[in-house]
């Protein structure tokens, strides 16, 4: 009897937690699909009674200011994030291979530095990086953003990828070497395919870092047509308190890629990496 009541209480608490966690996300999507009369109605409804894609159309079609539209911001963000992912992935793979496959003098120091560097509050670096970017002539240039995001995502990317490289049994590479493969071939044909899932997971992390970032984009970009999505959100959507339908539609569009990727990483992390490789 007591056990039954306890189980009920535990499940009820679980539902409460789920509701608290998911409700804002649900409300964002729900609001974005409601016509204005329902959004500003005196008795709010949980789900739209007459769902509409009007707000999405308003956001995606038509200019925010003359000549600049939401899709421009979306493309800017995607461009910056993809460039960050490619650079960060490449450099992280090289560095991770170094620390996972070689023993050298500064190896431990490098690993400790990776940990310490992740504790630096990036918010404190806005001022010096702003001056540096100006001096490099990268002010108001998207590549300037790519550069700083590369710096922010790299330490964690190396740290994460290191584990994936280490998980590939060294015997496979030694076997390839015995078969006469050069170092480059071994890396390209043996190590890379096996590390690929780890590289995907790491890339998604770097993507999310670049895609979500606000402060540096706010500071380093000055003309509207180069705004990334987060900057545009705070300027055009977050400040207009009357058009909540469009604000929620834009928020949903910004959130969606991150959520999809996030779920993918969660799966990748747990999937067995090279389960059959050694046996086979």
């Amino acid at each position: 009897m007591k056990r039954g009541v306890g189980k009920f209480a535990v499940n009820a608490a679980g539902l409460l937690v789920a509701l608290f966690a998911v409700f804002p996300v649900f409300w964002m999507v729900s609001t974005s699909l409601k016509p204005n009369e329902e959004i500003f109605s005196a008795t709010p409804q949980p789900v739209p009674r007459e769902p509409t894609l009007r707000h999405y159309r308003d956001v995606l079609i038509g200019d925010v200011i003359p000549g600049v539209s939401f899709t421009d911001f979306f493309l800017n963000s995607a461009l910056v994030a993809v460039a960050t992912v490619l650079l960060s992935g490449l450099l992280a793979l090289l560095a991770a291979t170094a620390v996972a496959r070689f023993r050298f003098r500064l190896r431990t120091s490098f690993l400790v530095m990776l940990l310490v560097v992740q504790m630096i509050p990036l918010e404190a670096l806005v001022i010096p990086l702003f001056l540096m970017i100006r001096r490099l002539g990268l002010y108001n240039q998207l590549p300037g953003l790519v550069l700083v995001y590369l710096g922010f995502s790299l330490p964690f990317a190396v740290w994460m990828l290191r584990g994936f490289v280490a998980a590939v049994p060294g015997e496979l590479e030694e076997a390839a070497a015995i078969d006469g493969a050069s170092r480059w071939q071994t890396f390209w044909r043996v190590l890379l395919p096996l590390v690929a899932p780890g590289l995907v997971a790491t890339s998604i992390f770097s993507f999310i870092t670049a895609w979500n970032e606000l402060i540096f984009a706010l500071t380093f970009i000055s003309t509207e047509d180069r705004y990334t999505l987060p900057v545009a959100m705070t300027f055009f959507f977050g400040r207009d308190d009357t058009a909540w339908g469009s604000v929620m539609a834009a928020s949903t569009l910004l959130t969606l890629p991150v959520m999809i990727f996030f779920v993918l990483v969660q799966r990748r992390m747990v999937s067995g990496l090279v389960a059959g490789a050694v046996k086979g």
Binding site: A21, P121, A124
Partner: protein, 326 residues
């Protein structure tokens, strides 16, 4: 020279790797070089720069003409530390971080314990929902909460209007919540900001605590329960000591994150105009980027923030070392 390098390498590598085919070439350094360069130029150098800048007067004139920066020694620090407003900002930051760390840890731990108790399917469902809060970008999360607390059509405003008038009057001294500005007074602003930040950060704690619980044998807690210990006692005498390292890391990470909250604050306050709700990171930013720009002063505030976080990290490292010794 080479022999010297070789021996120190072998000592560092230890006996396990000595058996492996030794590779003593330049390759690892070459592989490491690009990453090292990026970290040095984009993280370490700016960190040194921000300290150097805090000792200089650095405004729009120095920036425009690329003139040398006048050295002012500790004047920037003397100015901010003597400023009552800075002390208010510092107090707000510390209180906010403390409240948020405690609330995040308590809620996250409770949810972690709960997920451990739930049945398989229910745990997957609740875990999935919790994961969505975690995956939401800080920016859009804050925008949605701002909409929920909107003073005319926000759901929270509607909910408060549904309270019986007598109860609402007795508790809060008002019955009509339409037009109530949640973000206009510092107290309610920080309350909502706390809600937003805790909502976004408790999932990480919950998932980490759950992972910790899965890694320790459940028999220990079971045994304590059989011996008649209540849930409170089981947690503090069995679970907590076992998961102490996990809790240590989580507290330090939460402290670091909650000390430098920026995005959510920026969104809820609608920019950097509202000085009454400033905390260190946004104060430093406003000092440097609101006209007239004072980069030296902004840097000094950023250094104070970094120093506090350094102390937190230091305490944690000592905590870990002491544990290893005993």
């Amino acid at each position: 020279m080479t022999t010297l390098t070789r021996t120190s390498e072998d000592v560092a590598a230890g006996p396990t790797t000595a058996r492996r085919r030794p590779r003593r070439d330049r390759l690892p350094y070459l592989l490491l070089l690009p990453a090292l360069l990026v970290i040095a130029v984009l993280l370490l150098w700016p960190l040194g720069q921000v300290v150097a800048m805090s000792f200089h007067e650095l405004g729009i004139r120095q920036l425009r003409g690329d003139q040398p920066w006048p050295w002012v020694g500790l004047a920037n620090y003397a100015e901010i530390l003597g400023d009552p407003f800075f002390r208010t900002v510092l107090r707000n930051t510390v209180l906010f971080a403390a409240a948020n760390v405690v609330l995040t840890m308590v809620l996250g731990t409770l949810v972690g314990l709960l997920l451990n108790r739930l049945g398989r399917r229910m745990a997957a469902f609740v875990g999935g929902c919790v994961m969505l809060a975690w995956a939401t970008p800080a920016l859009t999360g804050a925008i949605v909460w701002k909409w929920l607390f909107d003073d005319t059509s926000g759901l929270v405003t509607w909910l408060f209007n549904q309270l019986p008038d007598g109860l609402s009057l007795a508790l809060f001294g008002r019955t009509d919540w339409t037009g109530y500005g949640w973000f206009n007074s510092p107290l309610t602003f920080f309350a909502v900001l706390t809600l937003v930040v805790v909502w976004h950060s408790f999932p990480f704690v919950a998932v980490s605590v759950l992972a910790g619980l899965k890694s320790v044998p459940a028999e220990l807690q079971e045994a304590a329960r059989v011996d008649g210990a209540g849930p409170w006692r089981v947690f503090w005498s069995v679970t907590f000591p076992l998961l102490r390292p996990v809790f240590g890391i989580l507290v330090v990470l939460s402290t670091i994150w909650d000390f430098k909250v920026f995005t959510q604050q920026y969104v809820l306050a609608g920019g950097t105009q509202d000085r009454s709700t400033f905390m260190l990171s946004i104060y430093s930013y406003a000092m440097a980027f609101s006209p007239p720009p004072k980069f030296g002063m902004g840097s000094a505030i950023a250094v104070v923030l970094t120093a506090i976080l350094l102390v937190v990290t230091g305490i944690y490292v000592r905590m870990v070392l002491r544990q290893e010794e005993s």
